[in-house]
């Protein structure tokens, strides 16, 4: 099993380790999944090891043109320091992976993609790559997320100087800069995350990550958070998880992330289906499901309307914030609409539920400053 540079640190902190996407990762620390979730939502700060994710750099004058072809997003119009959430689409308009691409310079882009898709994505990108571009994995770097209301306050203590005047208050949501830590270490910091809280993701050398992690953890407001709470935090926000809520047959329009398709943008892989669905509407669409009574509906739970199966959950579980079970799944818009009363079938029992928005908790991410 693969290990991140923090493996020993997690063990020393008492983490329960599980296999995830081929990596030995912490599912929770001694605090426990539920309290870890509440810690992050409750005005504190959680620190997450997400070094299993793939970090890549693309260089070359035609990088923006190339990225505008392999994703539905027009990167020619994206300014320096801007991070965009988008998808790699296949010829059939299905999602190969969802990822975040940040423009570092006119001819340089930083790409972060899912751990479980890393090899597949890299092979796909390389098979389409033109010879003038360089695409390489940053294998010597770790990635950690620092998320929660006090994330800016905590992280700023460790920054000496850098882009945005060395001041995180100037770094808008979905932007990234280069910073020097007080110990001289150079890092990339993006105001991004997967929790719906304000927060950052820090790309740092493997050799420096453990010391940095422990210094952050030593702050009273900070607790390390495992993949378990990471999943319940993202589920409350309605963020899709690749391999569960997205796969290579699902289009971004079906997934209700049509905003990744830039206005008037054409010439990208998969455009015939994606643009047709965008104008005519998809046959199925990602929606939220909220249980109205107690019980937990997890992934693959059948959803019925008037006794008839209308779909199943692509992911689901308990929401510590709402104290009820929530989930998301794909349903036909001509059969199902928001507010419909449905049932989630758990162990042969129909639990009353409702079709809702998949955004169950309002995000507290900082709006982009214009």
């Amino acid at each position: 099993m693969k290990k991140t540079a923090l493996n020993e640190t997690h063990r020393a902190q008492g983490a329960k380790m599980v296999e995830f996407a081929g990596f030995d990762m912490p599912i929770n620390y001694p605090l426990g999944m539920l309290k870890e979730h509440e810690w992050v939502r409750g005005g504190n700060v959680g620190i997450f090891d997400v070094s299993h994710m793939g970090q890549f750099m693309m260089r070359g004058g035609n990088s923006a043109e190339f990225l505008s072809k392999i994703t539905p997003t027009n990167f020619k119009n994206v300014g320096n320091a801007n991070a965009k959430y988008t998808v790699l689409a296949n010829e059939n308009g299905g999602i190969i992976d969802d990822l975040i691409i940040t423009r570092m310079a006119d001819d340089k882009f930083f790409i972060v993609l899912n751990a479980g898709c890393k090899e597949k994505d890299a092979a796909w990108i390389r098979s389409n790559l033109t010879s003038d571009l360089v695409f390489e994995e940053l294998i010597d770097r770790s990635l950690i997320a620092i998320q929660g209301a006090k994330a800016e306050l905590i992280l700023q203590k460790f920054i000496k100087n850098g882009d945005f005047g060395g001041n995180l208050a100037n770094l808008p949501y979905m932007n990234l800069g280069s910073f020097i830590l007080v110990d001289g270490e150079e890092v990339l910091i993006g105001r991004t995350g997967y929790t719906g809280e304000d927060g950052f993701e820090v790309s740092i050398r493997n050799s420096a990550v453990a010391a940095f992690w422990l210094k952050i953890c030593a702050e009273d407001a900070v607790e390390p958070i495992g993949l378990g709470a990471r999943d319940s935090l993202r589920l409350e926000m309605g963020y899709p998880l690749y391999g569960h809520d997205l796969d290579d047959s699902t289009s971004p329009i079906e997934a209700s992330i049509g905003w990744v398709v830039s206005k008037d943008h054409t010439g990208f892989i998969g455009e015939s289906r994606i643009l047709a669905e965008k104008s005519q509407g998809p046959k199925r669409k990602r929606m939220g499901v909220k249980l109205l009574e107690k019980g937990i509906a997890r992934e693959a739970t059948e959803i019925r309307k008037n006794g008839k199966k209308i779909g199943s959950l692509s992911s689901g579980g308990y929401s510590p914030e709402l104290k009820i079970s929530i989930g998301q799944g794909y349903f036909a818009p001509n059969e199902v609409k928001l507010g419909d009363k449905v049932a989630a079938v758990v162990r042969d029992r129909e639990i009353p539920a409702e079709i809702t928005s998949f955004v169950f908790v309002n995000p507290k991410t900082k709006a982009v400053k214009k």
Partner: protein
């Protein structure tokens, strides 16, 4: 009190067995967010799955260690499932069963045997 290898505990008073899951099991599951209680009046065979305990990560069956009829369920778990974690052997009991066959408990362990089982893990 007696214990099973599936980490249930049983307290016997007359012909009534009170059943719960052990502190070890509760700890391993993590904080519970839902307990599906058995139906009052239902009868079960030994080792039937008669309740479900769910943490945020997983759902696990609870097996009835003795055949019998459910004569009481711990309704307070409906709103406070975490009682199973915080008071595994007292307030976190799951159900009381009228024992149909006491011999079902012949293979149950006493406290020292159960502790040894945990140590050997």
């Amino acid at each position: 009190m007696k214990y099973t290898k599936d980490h249930e505990w049983i307290k016997i008073e007359g012909d009534i067995a009170t059943i719960g899951i052990t502190e070890y099991a509760a700890e391993a599951l993590g904080e519970l967010v839902y307990v599906e209680l058995p139906k009052l009046g239902n009868s079960y065979k030994k080792h039937d799955a008669f309740a479900v305990v769910e943490s945020s990560k997983s759902a696990s069956d609870v097996y009835i260690p003795v055949a019998g009829e459910v004569v009481a369920v711990n309704d307070s778990l409906n709103n406070n499932p975490e009682l199973v974690n915080n008071s595994s052997y007292q307030d976190g009991w799951i159900a009381k069963v009228k024992i149909a066959n006491l011999a079902d408990l012949d293979d149950a362990m006493d406290e020292s045997a159960y502790k040894k089982l945990l140590q050997d893990k």
